[in-house]
Symmetry: C2
Subunit: 263 residues, 2 copies
């Protein structure tokens, strides 16, 4: 809506990818005149959202963006309440523990705790993952009406991430129905090869699904009853978090079809 503001944010978006960029480099990428980018950079620098890299030539994300972004976790009690549960999963149960929310067409990881196990699964706090291949995505999408799910997932075939990734809407909706019945979702090497994950939704006091917990372990590490065990731990954690957010125990069972958000 506001061109200048939008361009400034576009610059920030670009730098948010992680690497340092020069003014003309950014200009080329965004297809803008260097002088425009220069002005945006200056404005962003003045407010600390962008800063010069060590070399003094290129620019990168600034400390203010870090501070402001951090405050995202402070809204509500979600993060604070979930952290102890995630820690337990990671430390006691040796499960990689994640907290995520549905934003746009992705899951955004609010927290990602790595267990001390042998294999490191590399999803970090702040990163995002696709919806059709993760337990996160299934469990969060299951809350929405079918038409909306299709709209969010977009055109088929969905991106194939592993041989086991489900790439058609039919396959996916089949599983969504299962998720709605059982109250949890699994991803059996559909997102990352060799990784098995389970997820369950977290509800707030109004009964709406606001986030999701997920636990992931190396596939080969699972014993015979390992899957049931993993699902049990994840569902239990999600329920305890929901209860501490004020969700009524009864509400945690029902599958709310109301929209999570609009946009």
């Amino acid at each position: 809506m506001s061109q200048s503001a939008d361009r400034a944010l576009a610059v920030l978006d670009l730098l948010g990818a992680g690497q340092e960029l020069g003014v003309r480099e950014i200009a080329r990428e965004l297809d803008l005149a260097a002088s425009i980018v220069q002005r945006m950079i200056n404005t962003l620098c003045d407010r600390g959202y962008v800063e010069r890299g060590p070399g003094g030539q290129k620019y990168r994300v600034g400390y203010r963006a870090f501070q402001v972004g951090r405050s995202y976790l402070a809204h509500g009690d979600l993060h604070a309440v979930s952290l102890p549960e995630l820690r337990t999963m990671a430390e006691r149960d040796q499960i990689n523990a994640y907290l995520g929310v549905l934003r746009g067409a992705s899951v955004v990881y609010l927290e990602a705790l790595q267990s001390k196990g042998p294999i490191a699964i590399t999803s970090t706090q702040g990163s995002s993952a696709s919806l059709h291949s993760t337990a996160f995505g299934k469990v969060l999408l299951a809350e929405l009406p079918d038409t909306e799910i299709a709209a969010i997932l977009g055109s088929e075939p969905f991106q194939r991430l592993t041989p086991k990734t489900k790439t058609t809407l039919d396959e996916f909706m089949e599983e969504i129905r299962e998720v709605r019945r059982t109250g949890y979702a699994v991803s059996d090497e559909e997102n990352i090869e060799g990784v098995f994950a389970a997820g369950a939704v977290i509800r707030d006091a109004s009964g709406q699904a606001v986030a999701s917990v997920s636990g992931a372990v190396p596939r080969h590490q699972l014993h015979s009853d390992g899957i049931d065990n993993l699902c049990h731990i994840v569902v239990g954690a999600a329920q305890r978090i929901s209860r501490r957010l004020g969700a009524a125990p009864a509400a945690m069972l029902r599958t709310s079809r109301s929209a999570l958000q609009s946009s």
Copy 2:
């Protein structure tokens, strides 16, 4: 420099304080017309930097700000290299461990690990602290020329945070000389009552001070030789981190007077 972009960032800054605000509320705070704020909010929302609160009326920081802000830690190896050292401090040595950088007239905490000890010291990742009262501030300022220190600290008397806070430039510079001699700094209940902290700088491959480690413990928890022990641990951690960043062992001893950054 760019008015619109600056105003959009001002809105983000305001929301970054943590609470949800309405359009007119923001307009009043920033002394702008509601329609301007509305346009900025729309732009910020489109890009995910701002989102509607659960109520649907007010606005808050969005997930994109979180993601972009997170990428601040990915620059260089500083955070990744420091984390294990901080963990050791927190878990093995029962010390609250912090990693901070000098930005503007404050220390910004890149990491804040709480030890499992009895007393929780509440400085969180992303928060900031004053320079004149913390070990962080002393050790980072000691790298700069005297005139610049005075400029950054601003007008006397400095804000009194505890009875032991040093509030005059003379007192402070006295201590800075001591810091330059010993290579580390302490804050004896100068920032928070009952808290004793020690800090040491981290240098990168070029020998420049880029950050600082600090360890804090409850004052009464210190034994007779506790202070020496704390300082030793902190200095050791800072040196190991510096070495892993490529700093030459010799460079870690010298007190660089070169400017850390301009602005």
